[in-house]
Amino acid sequence: MQIIKDKKITEDHWQFVADDQDIPQAGDITVSMSRWLNDKDALVRRGGRTGIRIRSTDQLEGIAGDLAGMPLVELDIAMFGDGRSFSQAWLLRNRYHYRGEIRAVGNYLIDQIFYLHRTGVDAFQLDESRKPEAALAALNDFSVAYQPSVN
């Protein structure tokens, strides 16, 4: 599956494993924050890498201690009008000094990619309404900005 990562179209193999599905022994996966907090020990012992998928209602404090070395945090945008994910991205970068990948997934608009990128999101899940070329172009919607953010 293709995603945008670091401003490039990239092949990607990460899988999200829902709470009611079994954890595979190998392969790179993301799980919900609650599953991560419950099964952390088992998840780090498995073969592949594990990241966390965060909903806009999740509190980041709970995973603050786990972020060092975390390969991927997905921000799950359930509704494009829910702007909490933008602050979560900013907090991950500025407050928690998280340096791994932050990927926007879910129901967001191509028109939000520029803002998401500025707040620290560096990877974007694509779909029918978010085609690779258009998503790449959206990273350059504006060439100037008034306020500092992450990017």
């Binding site: 494009f80 909490r84 608009l109 028109d111 803002y115 504006f142 100037v144 008034y146 306020q147």
Partner: protein, 550 residues
């Protein structure tokens, strides 16, 4: 006034291009109605009863003559020859075509104007005192800070999708003419004991369905921390404001439900961890301040005697000067209000020819600038007293000199049922009726300072809950009825009006207002204002009179 840099211009040009693309995608069916709605609102575009409505930003109400001429041109070429000034110092067009909106925005960009964030769940146009920089009771001119906030809020990447709209107002004078206590954040420039000027910060004020008076979250904020503190408040709001119910999503509800102390504590924690990274340098403040330096006033403008002679010779002119102009900090100058409340015109509306005239008058008499006001009028802030007579004559010929500023016919009024798809009842027609009933100028001036605000629904765009007399249109089984409140105020002693009693029918509302004014005349002591009389005697005498007759 502030002049765009190349970067400012680039930003609004790129915004026009982005919106053009969004409009095309919508028209091609690539964006659905909900998706386009969120995007178009952030460019001030509503879909209304008859046509789209486009709200153009008037940054803190300040407009140049060149910008006025462009507004006139747009009214002529894309609309029906007029536009409308709002309570938040913005400009609305009621009849643009959806597919032409990108062209309108491109035309606005030519004169450093835009419609960015004039609607939607984001940080809106920052508003201020229309007499900034010229009033005598000023601690410091708030406009440079408004401009700093304008830039910081514009396309802020983190706060473009807040739980609900977010409004900031700044006042620099002792007298609050910007309704700051009814904003999500209100800022007052104040001097502390050490003589330093900073901000008193109010949070959680708002009107609409649940009017709430803002509370002080920080009594004194150093100027250098302005943006970091705003950022902390908005981040806490973005993360914790309710998103489950749009009527409970404003920051006022967060403050009400969590308590001011809890919100203040969260903001403080947030601020402490980020305050150094967003510090405003003195250099930056001074460079913005330089763009708002006072114009070159003549030093002996007060020595001319012709003004006083005119006042004595021409009572109508004297009345206008008395009612529609105010003192200026420079002797020999006055600020002259342009009333957009002529008896037969919808409040706040102005035609293209009137706009062109105001632009010319601004060039000739007030350094090429004009301000829009919270009460939906305009003001030329720097007019020499010698020029007032000519100004009055020319304004009068264009029906812009009705001497009613601050009186009972200087009504704040929303578009109401005539234009707005949310309205339950008409408001413009009621305003016209009240005007007809109060057509005796001597009576009107005798009544003095009375603020009547009329909204056609409980969203309260005309701020009826803070009117000295508030009128709220409600729907009763398909008929238009009106609830009356008394004693509201959006100024320093902020208050929400008390409900008089049951709503009255449409054909009774003007009579009810007349009854209220009659009671005031009977009850007032000497020069006591309407608001003070209501405070002293309470609403009972008014209630008895209104409901005795109906």
């Amino acid at each position: 006034m502030y002049q765009y840099t190349q970067d400012d211009q680039t930003l609004i040009d790129e915004r026009v291009a982005q919106f053009r693309g969004q409009t095309e995608r919508f028209l091609k069916g690539e964006l659905d109605a909900d998706q386009f709605r969120a995007l178009r609102l952030m460019n001030g575009l509503y879909i209304q009863t008859h046509a789209p409505m486009l709200r153009v930003a008037g940054p803190y109400g300040l407009l140049s003559s060149r910008q006025l001429r462009k507004l006139a041109e747009i009214a002529r070429n894309y609309d029906k020859g007029y536009c409308h000034f709002t309570t938040r110092q913005n400009i609305q067009y009621n009849w643009p075509k959806l597919e032409e909106v990108p062209d309108i925005l491109a035309e606005l960009a030519e004169v450093q104007m835009h419609a960015i964030q004039t609607s939607g769940n984001c940080m809106r146009n920052t508003t201020t005192d229309p007499l900034s920089g010229v009033c005598k009771d000023e601690i410091e001119d708030p406009r440079p800070y408004c401009e700093i906030i304008r830039q910081w809020t514009t396309l802020h990447p983190e706060f473009a999708f807040l739980p609900r709209k977010f409004k900031i107002a700044v006042s620099g004078a002792l007298h609050d003419r910007a309704a700051t206590q009814f904003h999500d954040i209100g800022l007052h420039l104040v001097k502390n004991d050490a003589g330093e000027v900073g901000f008193k910060v109010f949070v959680g004020g708002g009107l609409g369905r649940t009017p709430v008076i803002g509370q002080v979250i920080r009594p004194f904020l150093e100027k250098k921390h302005l943006l970091s503190y705003l950022e902390a408040i908005v981040r806490i709001y973005n993360l914790f404001g309710r998103r489950d119910n749009k009527y409970k999503a404003r920051i006022k509800i967060l403050v009400k439900e969590e308590g001011l102390d809890k919100v203040a504590e969260l903001v403080e924690q947030e601020w402490q961890s980020n305050k150094d990274s967003l510090e405003l340098s003195n250099e930056r403040i001074e460079s913005i301040k330089a763009q708002f330096a006072p114009p070159d006033h003549e030093t002996s403008a007060d020595l001319d005697g012709s003004f006083h002679k005119r006042l004595q010779e021409n009572p109508a002119f004297a009345t206008w000067v008395q009612q529609n102009t105010v003192d200026h900090r420079v002797p020999g100058y006055r600020a002259a209000f342009i009333s957009l409340k002529a008896p037969d015109a919808p409040p706040g509306d102005i035609t293209d020819t009137q706009l062109d005239l105001v632009a010319d008058l601004a060039d000739r008499f007030s350094f090429g600038e004009v301000r829009s006001t919270h009460r939906q009028n305009l003001v030329l802030t720097d007019v020499k007293q010698t020029d007032l007579f000519t100004l009055w004559q020319e304004l009068g010929a264009a029906k812009l000199a009705t001497p009613n500023i601050g009186t009972a016919t200087d009504i704040i009024c929303c578009p109401g049922l005539d234009f707005c798809s949310l309205a339950n009842a008409g408001s413009i027609g009621i305003t016209r009726e009240i005007n007809q009933a109060l057509d005796d100028l001597d009576y009107l001036h005798d009544l003095g300072d009375i603020k009547i605000n009329i909204s056609g629904c409980m969203n309260g765009c005309a701020h009826q809950s803070v009117g000295h007399i508030g009128i709220l249109g409600v729907d009763k089984k398909g008929e238009e009825w009106y609830q009356i409140t008394l004693g509201g105020s959006s100024e320093n002693e902020a208050a929400i009006g008390d409900r008089l009693g049951p709503a009255v029918a449409k054909d009774q509302i003007t009579r009810a207002i007349q009854d209220i004014l009659d009671v005031y005349i009977k009850q007032r002591q000497e020069d006591e204002s309407f608001l003070n009389t209501v405070k002293r005697v309470g609403i009972t005498p008014f209630k008895e009179q209104v409901y005795a007759n109906h």
